[in-house]
């Protein structure tokens, strides 16, 4: 009886999910309610979790609840600690959830709501979640080793080196693009700039409190920090209205970019307790709180999505970034569906806390499901805006024109009506001077969130909500930025240590300063170019980041597929092989188009040629002619970088196929690095929680 009941329930969920997905797919009306998205997402997640993911853990991975995990065997009470599964879930989710799933869907909304939404749902359940879960499993079986170490042990030195270089490259591009998003959000906005600037001393106060005043009183210190952060949002409004202070914080992009670089350098060199760790505590609390608030607001309000299902820009002429629906919707969504970066958390970090292999399903697969849900909410927040407003905020001046009147004319001519008065009224409501050409995704997301929060929790406070949203995005973008710079520094010191061992000493100040400087110059260069680029820079940097991130995911899936085949699971190798194949197709196609396309807005080389011809003929306006040589050099650099990413990807794919071929032919391969089976002595009630 009970079994039958459960079957009926699952059948109903399947029907509900199918009709919700079908509903959002075939709807061609004026608007569609956001509740359809939520329903479609939750049913797809439930079915995938209950059936596909559960089958993968029992049949393909064969998790063994009696087997002791590294947290139990290597328990030292500090970093290896068997921990309650909900706590591990919290830590894991806090670590994987960053600004990516908020920015990606916002940009991809230029194709309409449908393509992005479908990829966020199905890419996650078949690709991203599987990747995270399998990496968590493999690392748990290998004493919490990192992706790079596993690649080296199981495939050989080539795989290990490729994973290391891939990680380093993606870090540089990621930080640059995130820096650009923050700079664009702060540009000529005294309120946003002063609020974000205030988060630095706030973090330091919290750091000193936790270190010297009341050591280890994390919650007390965080509560203090959150109050100070909220005050800084209010304070920003006060500064914005003050004639004198306003000028201090009304800065242009380049000036802000230099400050972001200086901040990154300082954060990488200063001790972690002063800036990095307290900022991270604060950003985690803000992140969790705001995401919950967003979910509550969407469910309470049930807003109408006004963006069409599919826009004309699937032909590749979109203003936010150039390129057709295939493959660029996949490259742009990136983290919300599948993120290579997660494999670095799932290996190495999370396995040190995992008490039982049984929990891999919930933490690895479930964690990514939640991340995908965040991406769906970002998609909703972007598409509840009037499409005309959405395009006016996100289209760079280089595409739609510098003057507001030109911009609204161009955007309206695309069939997305918008007026200057409408945009000015919106800007006034949000407490900003203008909302035209505020590229990068953060301002449009903040407008979307502010209008949701405003209607749900008080319309009069729109400007406060807007700057609260900007502060929330900036706080954890800056956390990724400084944590990333620091990790990049460690990796670089490690690499330099191979040449001169003294460089590897993480406490030797000359080496610390030198390598931090190198890492900051790496991303600082791309940030600088992005800021001076009249097309906004995001249109170049985000696809580059997408390609790098999907490439890292492909490397992780290569390692996973190789290990599955080597452990005799050839018939199930498609579980990781299928998403791997798809990632190879989309990254290779995207890279090929970025290199060879004749479309000036897609192809790096053709854009560079066009620019150099115009420069030599002398048809460029003087301010553009000044920066043209730098832009041309950068386009060449981006093209070679893309080529390098794809070459790296194919190298590791062939290396994996070579190892698998040898294994299947019965020839010797690197042995499995799995730790020996040891019976777990932990029982449910024994776990310390």
């Amino acid at each position: 009886m009970h079994k039958l009941f459960s079957k009926i329930i699952w059948l109903l969920i399947a029907l509900l999910g199918a009709s919700a997905v079908g509903g959002i797919a075939v709807n061609r009306g004026e608007s569609i309610n956001a509740l359809w998205f939520i329903t479609a997402a939750l049913s797809v997640y439930a079915i995938a979790y209950r059936f596909y993911a559960a089958w993968v853990t029992t049949t393909v991975l064969v998790v063994d609840p009696t087997r002791a995990t590294p947290a139990e065997r290597l328990d030292n009470g500090r970093d290896f600690v068997p921990t309650n599964k909900w706590i591990v879930f919290g830590h894991h989710f806090a670590a994987i959830a960053g600004p990516g799933p908020l920015v990606g869907p916002t940009l991809a909304a230029q194709f309409g709501y449908l393509p992005g939404t479908l990829w966020i749902l199905f890419g996650a359940v078949l690709g991203g979640c599987v990747q995270d879960m399998v990496m968590l499993f493999l690392s748990t079986r290998r004493n919490a080793k990192s992706l790079g170490q596993m690649a080296r042990d199981e495939l050989g030195p080539l795989g290990g080196t490729a994973a290391l270089i891939g990680t380093f490259a993606i870090m540089i591009i990621l930080i640059a693009v995130l820096g650009l998003v923050v700079v664009n959000a702060m540009k000529h906005s005294a309120w946003a700039t002063s609020t974000i600037a205030a988060t630095i001393p706030v973090a330091m106060i919290v750091g000193i409190y936790m270190r010297h005043f009341r050591p280890g009183q994390v919650l007390e210190a965080t509560a203090l920090g959150v109050i100070l952060l909220l005050l800084s949002v209010f304070g920003g409004g006060w500064i914005d209205r003050d004639e004198f202070f306003r000028l201090w914080f009304d800065c242009d992009g380049l000036f802000l970019a230099w400050w972001v670089m200086a901040y990154g350098l300082a954060a990488a060199i200063l001790p972690v307790w002063l800036l990095l760790a307290p900022r991270d505590y604060l950003s985690t609390f803000m992140k969790m709180g705001t995401i919950t608030l967003l979910a509550v607001a969407i469910i309470m309000l049930q807003p109408e999505v006004k963006m069409p299902a599919i826009t004309r820009f699937i032909d590749g002429t979109g203003p936010i970034f150039g390129g057709k629906l295939f493959p660029f919707v996949f490259i742009t969504i990136a983290c919300g569906a599948i993120s290579g970066f997660h494999s670095l958390i799932a290996s190495g970090t999370t396995p040190k806390l995992l008490t039982n292999e049984r929990d891999i399903l919930m933490i690895g697969y479930g964690g990514m499901l939640l991340e995908s849900f965040v991406a769906i909410m970002a998609m909703i927040a972007a598409t509840v805006l009037d499409p005309g407003v959405f395009f006016a905020i996100n289209s760079p001046a280089g595409v739609v024109g510098k003057e507001a009147i030109n911009a609204v004319a161009t955007i309206s001519s695309w069939g997305f009506p918008v007026t200057v008065t409408q945009m000015q009224a919106l800007a006034d409501q949000m407490g900003e001077a203008t909302l035209f050409a505020r590229t990068g995704g953060a301002p449009s997301l903040a407008v979307g969130m502010a209008s949701l929060f405003g209607s749900a929790f008080g319309e009069t406070l729109l400007a406060l909500w807007y700057h609260f949203a900007i502060m929330f995005e900036a706080v954890f973008i800056l956390t990724t930025l400084d944590a990333g710079t620091r990790v990049g520094r460690f990796m670089l010191q490690d690499m330099l240590g191979n040449i001169w061992p003294k460089m590897a000493e993480t406490s030797w100040l000359p080496s610390v300063i030198f390598s931090s400087f190198l890492v900051v110059s790496g991303w600082g260069y791309f940030l600088y170019i992005g800021v001076i680029d009249p097309n906004g820079g995001v249109n170049i940097l985000w696809p580059l980041f997408g390609i790098a991130n999907q490439m890292l995911a492909a490397i992780a899936l290569c390692v996973a597929t190789g290990i599955l085949i080597k452990s005799g699971q050839l018939k199930y190798a498609w579980v990781t092989g299928m998403p791997l194949l798809w990632l190879i197709i989309i990254t290779s196609t995207a890279a090929w188009e970025k290199i060879s396309s004749n479309d000036l807005r897609i192809g790096f080389f053709s854009a560079a040629n066009d620019l150099s011809i115009k420069l030599s003929v002398g048809v460029l306006p003087p301010e553009k002619a000044d920066i043209a040589p730098q832009l041309i050099f950068n386009l060449h650099l981006d093209a070679w970088l893309t080529l390098f990413f794809v070459a790296l990807l194919w190298l590791i794919v062939f290396d994996m196929l070579r190892i698998c071929g040898r294994y299947l032919a019965g020839k010797p391969v690197p042995p499995s690095s799995e730790a020996k089976h040891q019976l777990s002595r932990l029982t449910e009630d024994w776990v310390r929680d």
Binding site: R78, D79, P215, V218, A334, A483
Partner: protein, 65 residues
């Protein structure tokens, strides 16, 4: 109701690492003080423990995109 609030408070403390030192001391007592004889070293002080924990945590990748 009170129980629920208590459980939530425990969860929050646990998630934020607020109770990490108490758990460390418990772990220490369990593993380092066999049969009441004073063995090996003393546990870290609260300040030293948090310093060490933080340094270890920020040595690798723990934040994502």
């Amino acid at each position: 109701m009170l129980r629920k609030v208590q459980t939530f408070w425990q969860l929050l403390r646990r998630l934020s690492g607020d109770d990490a030192y108490e758990r460390y001391i418990a772990h220490f007592a369990e593993h380092h003080q066999h049969e009441g004889i004073h063995v090996c070293e003393k546990p870290l002080t609260k300040k030293a423990f948090f310093k060490k924990r933080q340094d270890e945590r920020w040595n690798g990748i723990n934040r994502c995109c």
